[in-house]
């Protein structure tokens, strides 16, 4: 039976879920965690690390560890967000061949979708290990403010990972879907999403019969749980410096431990009033001694250290309501998303601002993946009773005379949709017009994103303003934008279909898909070898343990010595197969080893 997984591809953590029967459920990874860090690293030996293991060496191997790739995906090299990342990221960001962004790790350059595909592949593997079958289809969530390029880049990342991304849906929409699943109500909700690296607030209308509509969305892409961790680290470093006059930030190992300890303490303080941070041997002095760090952090201290960050989230909530043109009392429920919303101060702030207690019925770090799983199952079964209306995340229009932006389709318009406007010429005797299709909210065209362009020719020579040109925008259910321009007098027309690109050519994507598939095969092969080796080594150890007893019982007889010799031969062949790393051979030897073990046990049982 084909399954569709729902993936929350987060800035700091990702999560995968699936429909189990009539309810969605998150799948845990091998370590038993429900979320996996969205971190990719390459070690000195060229080994790829993804997830928790990559996070644990993120500081000691910072130049070759990629985090928060989501901030870069689908962006152009010269965008302000990339410039910001250049200043703040520890890994090497370089310009790609198509004006896109590449990341240099060890001796290779990776595109951002390729890096994100490694995280998606990890989620795919988690799902396949759980389901025991291949998984090829997924619904992936993105922030509501992602433009077409970023969405396409996310789809490309899925394709590279071997996943057919059948739908990209907005994260607040997915959260609202999980919130409203199984309930039939009409409600306006606010989704307060404070994750590891970003903060987003969205206002949605949940209509009867499962119609979900995003009215507004806003946020801060550089405000999240890591900023709270940074405050704790600052506090620890300053305290240690005052006591020992040593700056722990100068030592990578110390900084890695501080970061892990800060995050752990922050999480603990959501349930406890105080917690001890204990880091023995945190730094060595020049006098051959190591110093310890031990401090008690209280919840009050943490709230004092992060008060401004919490206040910032409230300011953004206020902005979201203004954009939605709603009053606070029109918000009927608050859905909390992101692990940081477990912090009591955050819950208090949200409750105080919205004037009601937030809904805590859902796990905040799982809710988006659960919503994606629900949508995936609905698409697979083509359930019509659950309609998820997508909206255009940004306004669409064309550039007009004087570099102005003329909006045809406003932001957050539900799709499918179609709008038409009539324009005219700006110069006398103008025989052609260039239609520049743009996306964004600025009134100045050069501050918005160019999606495509085309030229309509054959216009009648006339004074400016006489010729009428009708421009139509059409967006279908898949989000494909078509723009059509027509000379109303002559009937001359021209059109384009705007296809978003991620900055990668199809050839590049195919090559990356091939690399990803090879990596998966190699990994599965390694896993099969390890499993066979462990089984063989367990049997070898058991047989060798039994040898003295067997020798005592039958070693004096000819047939006993012969049997022992043959047993040694079996052991030698098994060890040889392990050394040669031949999985199939090991499996064959496991059968022989199991027979030997049974025989030995039988002899011992009878002779002992």
């Amino acid at each position: 039976m084909e399954r569709v997984i729902g993936i929350d591809l987060g800035t700091t953590n990702s999560c995968v879920a699936i429909m189990e029967g009539n309810a969605p459920a998150v799948i845990s990874n091998r370590g038993g965690y429900k979320t996996t860090p969205s971190i990719v690293a390459v070690t000195e030996a060229g080994k790829r690390l993804v997830g928790h293991i990559a996070k644990r060496q993120a500081i000691t191997n910072s130049e070759n560890t990629v985090y928060a790739a989501k901030r870069l995906i689908g962006r152009k090299w010269n965008s302000p967000q990339v410039k910001n990342a250049l200043m703040t990221s520890s890994y090497n960001i370089i310009e790609g061949p198509h004006g896109d962004v590449r990341i240099h790790l060890r001796d290779k350059n990776y595109s951002v979708p390729e890096v994100s595909s490694m995280v998606l592949q990890e989620m795919k593997i988690i799902a396949e290990d759980y389901l025991g079958q291949p998984v090829t289809k997924a619904v992936v969530t993105v922030p509501a403010y992602f433009n077409d390029h970023q969405r396409q880049a996310t789809k490309d990342a899925g394709a590279i990972a071997g996943l057919d991304v059948i739908r990209i849906i907005n994260e607040p929409t997915a959260a609202a879907l999980a919130y409203g699943f199984g309930r039939n109500f009409d409600r306006t909700v606010a989704v307060y999403d404070l994750g590891g690296g970003t903060f987003d607030v969205s206002v949605l209308e949940i209509g009867a019969h499962g119609v979900f509509k995003v009215i507004s969305t806003t946020g801060d892409t550089f405000l999240g749980g890591e900023d709270f961790d940074a405050r704790i680290i600052d506090w620890l470093v300053e305290g240690f410096k005052q006591e020992h006059d040593i700056d722990l930030r100068q030592d990578r190992m110390a900084l890695q431990r501080l970061r892990d300890a800060a995050e752990k303490a922050k999480c603990e303080l959501s349930a406890l009033k105080e917690t001890e941070i204990n880091l023995p041997f945190i730094i060595s002095t020049g006098r051959n001694e190591a110093l310890h760090l031990q401090r008690l952090l209280t919840r009050d201290t943490l709230e004092m250290l992060t008060e401004d960050l919490v206040e910032r989230t409230v300011d953004i909530c206020r902005q979201a309501l203004e954009d939605a043109r709603l009053d606070i009392d029109e918000i009927e429920d608050i859905v909390l998303v992101g692990g940081m919303t477990r912090m009591p101060a955050i819950q208090r702030a949200a409750a105080e601002f919205f004037g009601r207690e937030p809904n805590k019925s859902l796990h905040p770090d799982e809710v988006v993946a659960l919503g994606a799983a629900i949508q995936g199952a609905a698409l697979l079964e083509e359930k019509q009773e659950m309609i998820l209306l997508d909206v255009t995340p940004h306004a669409l229009g064309i550039m007009t005379f004087g570099s102005h932006f003329e909006e045809l389709i406003p932001q957050n318009t539900t799709v499918p949709t179609s709008r038409t406007k009539t324009f005219t010429t700006s110069r006398d005797n103008q025989t052609a017009v260039k239609i520049l299709v743009m996306q964004g909210e600025s009134e100045k065209a050069d501050q918005n994103e160019l999606l495509g362009e085309f030229i309509l020719t054959g216009l009648r020579r006339a004074p400016k303003g006489e010729v009428e040109i009708e421009v139509s925008f059409d967006i279908n259910t898949d989000g494909i934008v078509s723009v059509h321009a027509k000379d109303l007098e002559t009937g001359q027309e021209q059109s384009i279909q705007v296809t978003a690109t991620s900055g990668l050519t199809q050839e590049e994507i195919n090559s990356m898909m091939s690399d990803a598939a090879e990596y998966l095969v190699e990994r599965r092969s390694d896993e099969a070898f390890e499993a066979a080796r462990q089984e063989a080594e367990t049997l070898i150890a058991e047989i060798e343990d039994l040898f003295p007893e067997i020798e005592r019982v039958v070693g004096s007889a000819d047939f006993g010595r012969d049997a022992l010799s043959k047993a040694r031969g079996v052991l030698d062949r098994a060890k040889n197969a392990i050394e040669l790393k031949r999985t199939e051979l090991i499996k064959e030897q496991v059968e022989q080893l199991a027979r030997t073990q049974r025989m030995f046990k039988g002899v011992v049982a009878r002779g002992g």
Partner: protein, 317 residues
């Protein structure tokens, strides 16, 4: 972790066959003889797992002390079949140079060894990339001594455990020396270099490494010290890996949290210890350490020997 046992053909206990034992089925392993490769060691035995292991039978300190004793003594040890080693002497440059405690390597000899191309002798492991090589059992007289000091015989870079050569310092039994007339001899005047070579020749790789690092601190361009560092690290990686066994084993902390600070550790050991959470394997801890593998292995083995951490096989979970 599999344990190797020497083949002991001496029957134990009673020589009579218990009446309850049924006939042993001797056919259960006869059909797998052909396609398997049995790797033969230098003595031509078909039981490679009777070989000496990477870890000496005696603790390193005792082994080194014994070898130094042999080197200092003018008479062979009673229980030791090899000839008496001659101590290094700067005033006697013509003394034949041997390996493994018999005499020091002169600097020229070691440098010549460093430049020597890979021996065509099939007993010399040279290419870890293609995996362990099938060893051909050759007549003893045509088989040169295994030159374990020859850097060309050792892998040029660190490889996976399964690609590592399986020969290491024999436990107390050095290989036969090569012909003395083939070796030029000269004296080394630097006592630090002399000590480094002595320690390496005696199998004290940790000691030789420490001396090499001292030399490099003094002179970062010291080629011999740099190469010796690589050799010693490679040998130690093999020894440490052998000590740890399967890298898939889980690590757990054996000491109570409030007792950890009373241990004698440095910040690197403290960092490595912080990565041990009871769920991560040895391989994962090594990957997450961000340290050179040799360094991380050394610290882990130290923590293991101090019983600060313990290993747990994933199969037993």
């Amino acid at each position: 972790m599999a344990r190797n046992k020497k083949d002991d053909k001496t029957p134990r206990g009673s020589s009579s066959i218990p009446p309850e034992v049924t006939a042993i089925d001797g056919t259960w392993d006869d059909d797998l003889e052909g396609p398997l490769e049995i790797v033969v060691d230098e003595r031509g035995d078909a039981s490679p797992y009777d070989r000496v292991t990477a870890v000496p039978d005696v603790p390193t300190e005792q082994y080194v002390a014994r070898m130094m004793q042999i080197a200092d003594a003018r008479e062979p040890a009673e229980a030791d079949p090899e000839p008496d080693p001659t101590p290094p002497d700067a005033d006697e440059p013509d003394r034949p140079a041997l390996f493994f405690g018999h005499a020091e390597l002169t600097e020229e000899e070691l440098e010549a060894a460093l430049e020597r191309p890979t021996s065509p002798d099939p007993l010399v492991f040279s290419d870890p990339i293609n995996g362990p090589r099938r060893l051909e059992a050759a007549p003893p007289e045509s088989r040169p001594a295994l030159d374990l000091d020859d850097p060309a015989a050792l892998p040029a870079r660190e490889d996976s455990l399964f690609d590592l050569p399986r020969v290491s310092p024999p436990a107390g039994i050095p290989a036969a020396p090569p012909a003395a007339e083939d070796r030029p001899s000269s004296a080394s005047s630097d006592p630090t270099v002399v000590e480094m070579k002595q320690r390496h020749a005696a199998g004290d790789f940790s000691g030789a490494l420490a001396v090499a690092e001292r030399l490099l601190q003094r002179d970062p361009e010291h080629d011999l010290a740099r190469r010796m560092t690589e050799l010693c690290q490679q040998a130690l990686v093999r020894m440490y890996s052998g000590r740890l066994g399967s890298l898939e084993q889980r690590l757990r902390v054996s000491v109570a949290p409030d007792q950890i600070r009373w241990l004698s550790l440095d910040h690197r050991a403290g960092f490595l210890l912080s990565l041990v959470d009871g769920r991560s394997s040895v391989e994962e801890v090594l990957d997450a350490s961000g340290m050179p593998r040799f360094e991380a292995l050394r610290i882990l083995v130290h923590l293991l020997d101090q019983r600060v951490v313990a290993l747990q096989s994933p199969a037993s979970e």
